[in-house]
Point group: C2
Chain length 393, copies 2
Amino acid sequence: MKYSFSKRIQKTPKSFIREILKVTQRPEVISFAGGLPNPDLIDIQGISRAAQTVIEQDGKNALQYSTTEGYLPLREFIADRYRKRYDLCVKPEEILITNGSQQCLDLIGKIFINNGDAVAIERPGYLGAIQALSLYQPEFFSVPLENDGPDTEELKQILSEEFPKLFYAVPNSQNPSGITYSEEKRHEVADILNEAETLFVEDDAYGELHFSGKVMPPVKKFMPEYGIMTGSFSKIVSPGMRMGWICAPEEIIDKIATSKQAADLHSNYLSQRIIEEYLRTNDLDAHISKINAVYKSRCDLMLKLMDEMFPEEVSHTTPNGGMFIWLTLPDGLSSTKLFEKAMEKNVAVLPGHPFYFDGGGDNTARINYSNADEESIRKGIEILAGILKEQLK
Amino acid sequence: MKYSFSKRIQKTPKSFIREILKVTQRPEVISFAGGLPNPDLIDIQGISRAAQTVIEQDGKNALQYSTTEGYLPLREFIADRYRKRYDLCVKPEEILITNGSQQCLDLIGKIFINNGDAVAIERPGYLGAIQALSLYQPEFFSVPLENDGPDTEELKQILSEEFPKLFYAVPNSQNPSGITYSEEKRHEVADILNEAETLFVEDDAYGELHFSGKVMPPVKKFMPEYGIMTGSFSKIVSPGMRMGWICAPEEIIDKIATSKQAADLHSNYLSQRIIEEYLRTNDLDAHISKINAVYKSRCDLMLKLMDEMFPEEVSHTTPNGGMFIWLTLPDGLSSTKLFEKAMEKNVAVLPGHPFYFDGGGDNTARINYSNADEESIRKGIEILAGILKEQLK
């Protein structure tokens, strides 16, 4: 190798998903492999009006440098929304605007993780978090995910033996599994982490994409001192603007601001202003209801077809929100093989093994329903069912 | 401390400039302390039209997730501009879009610097680079800056004794000093670094803000294998959109892409599209000429007033571009005292010592001319002259 790269980047493989998506993005492919919001549900006219207003009425400021923490009225909107939706009280000063919630993970890694520190993560766990935190060279420990949340006995054991710096999790409609923590598990996780004085990084990218059952309180509500939440406008306004936020105690936000300033000074200010204008002048609840109605109907259709057509040895989760269904194949079947066979027939699924950093998971797969129309879902699930039946013969 | 932060962030102080700007931003203060482009020179109408076109004609794509490397036509525009302006031939594949050029420094640190690696930087050196790279815990070595570029004997000595991973520099209208490398020094620096097989990180944030003398070839032109350039639309289109780029050999871009994906997936795609639309449908050269005419006249005025009014013991650089003049006070005078005295009279300058990570520089100060009108310049320089004369009594 000509260049002497850092140890951290030499150990970081290319993203498996990114490589796979190159193959599955051909127009003839019915893809359940990605994780894209449905572009038909982006309010283009509303965003266009907001952009016009902001640039024409206050372009000089909106296009100039701004503060590292982010546009105050936008941070106020987020704090207000937490209060209304989750009965969670935080100050705008406890919120900092980032480039999507992905950047939160990089900044959290930067301010907390020393080389070799232990970090706990769900199993299966969100790939983007594994990738972002990996660059700070922690040792990962995995907490198995059950249908109602993490295995708390395992969590306790990891806390007492490995003293992790933090536990990263996605309690609402998890990526990749679609699992939502029960209220009981939320209390239990908070109690265990509070007791151990260990940080909980609660990725709430999918909290607003909630289409059945009760809205659960965030775990942070029960652990104000050790709870960090991350959020995103990607799923409810626009992913392309890369706008997210981190919510944490001010002592932590202060360090996040220092690392954010070194990383890129501040997030795109024009887009912060456009999103704030859009949120203030449009009915966000009505817009989200529209998204959720579509996602629910796609999810319901997919689940119904899976139940009708898949061999009964194949099990799936039943999400109450988010964008993903998680398949578990019977012993002996491989989702990598399923991927290969399905691609021959122009249907793409995402093999589950990359979500298990410590190996395993080859009998699992992630299926996305947000970005496929009904006809594709019917056709795609039928093809997958045929392959699965063939493989089980 | 309640939280157990990483060693890297515990060692990172709050930005001195950021703290100082809080004081100097009061409306009654004439501030030469900041580094803001002049907002009156942002083409608000042109950007507004571009935003409208992009959102209305292709909103579904412009507001969706996109590729980590960035929008190809924008990367093509940058490659084309390098060819036309600098006779520098690079492929669009050698360019990746970032959140301002500041993010390049974070990503470069991430992919190259191991804890304790040596890094060379100009003395005085750009504070944002010191801050961004510091988080990867290198050992810095400083190369004194002379009026025509770095002291090459010192550079050779550092290369042979410390084997730095890279040399970071700003050859065009440097921040903070305003110095531009001579053509001879550019060749010399390239030869020395090529010989040592050491990377040159060439921050070209101010290259387009060039208002007198010949346009110099970038150092990268003479070191295609070891040259990395960073660029920015902040000074020529809009800082608030946080759009910059890194240009490097593909093997390096490949690692930058992996680290960028972990950091925030990709840069704001809507703004990439708006900037590309703006650049394609407007006359960039005419726009830059307008900016440079204003900056040159402000700079000329400031230099003339300094020559007329400052004590002759105070020396200044004579920039041929960029946004800053660098003052050197005679021995015994302190720019921190100058700052304090001037603030009492509502004039702000930036003390130079933060640009010297290894101490010293208290007799230097950075003066910004891009963001002050003629009246403020006349009034502010007169007040500074009075204080300097008083201090020299």
